[in-house]
Amino acid sequence: MPIELYRIDDRLIHGQVVVGWGQPLDIGFIVLVDDEVAGSDWEQELYRMGVPPGMDVFFATVEAAAREHGRYAADPRPGIVLTGDIETMTRLAERVPGIRSVNLGGIHHRPGRTQRLRFVFLTADEEQALRALARRGIVVTAQDVPAARPLSLDDTLDGKVGA
């Protein structure tokens, strides 16, 4: 079964991911792609605690996730691939041509970022990185929870704040 969701969310594994998306999509596993978390047993235990019994979580560096992507995609269970920032998703997409869509789920305020949506704040470089993903044919949409309407990248960058 193809990966159900490639999501960028700076909170990584949390309620919106596990409950908000996990339940309606009947998610069987999450691949958390983060070089730092993949190198820390403590961080992994922290995020594993947030995953309910019956849902697997795999921790991977970008390189390992790219290498193992075929295995994730062949898993009969629906899965989510999760990164904490745009740069990590970009690196993954460069290595995995099969990624056709990316969900912006939560990129919150930080100095240098400008608000585009209630849950999306971007620097100029991050905006360019998202445009580059779109130029590769990847459909980028912003949607924090399944019940919300997905917004196109253009609408997101236009800053439909409050959406």
């Binding site: 909170r11 947030g50 849950f119």
Partner: protein, 157 residues
Amino acid sequence: MSSPSAPEGDPGPSGDAGESGEPGAPDRPLAIVAGHGAFAEGLISAAAQIGGRGGIFVGMSNTGLGASEIADAMRDLVDRTGASVIFTDLPAGSCTIAARRLVRERPALTLITGANLATLLDYTFHAHLSPAAAARHAAEKGRDSLLLFGGEGGGAD
């Protein structure tokens, strides 16, 4: 963007103990309540209405905040108030993740996840105990308050 602060209507760090506060009861925040949306605001408001001691809690919301901002805000709140107990909503939530990082930095802090009104009320009335003992007591009370009645004939899965 919402920021971590005492929720509206809550007296906050300098709030009094409430009309029915016990004589000699602490009048400063002893615990942080953190969660999604207006979880903290609502819970503290309800605890104050029932127990009259909302001032011992200070709330924060994760709304609009990234993971590092939640942790920073929680750390700042602990530093500003001297609170030694943190109540959070979802065990898997971002506030819990942030609180666990904080507890790792400061092992004297106590974290209770899955907090409900019964938890906060019990803590209110046992705040004279050590923070860890009061928190343990409150956690047991909160767990025991989850009850299920009825459901017969409602259809089984």
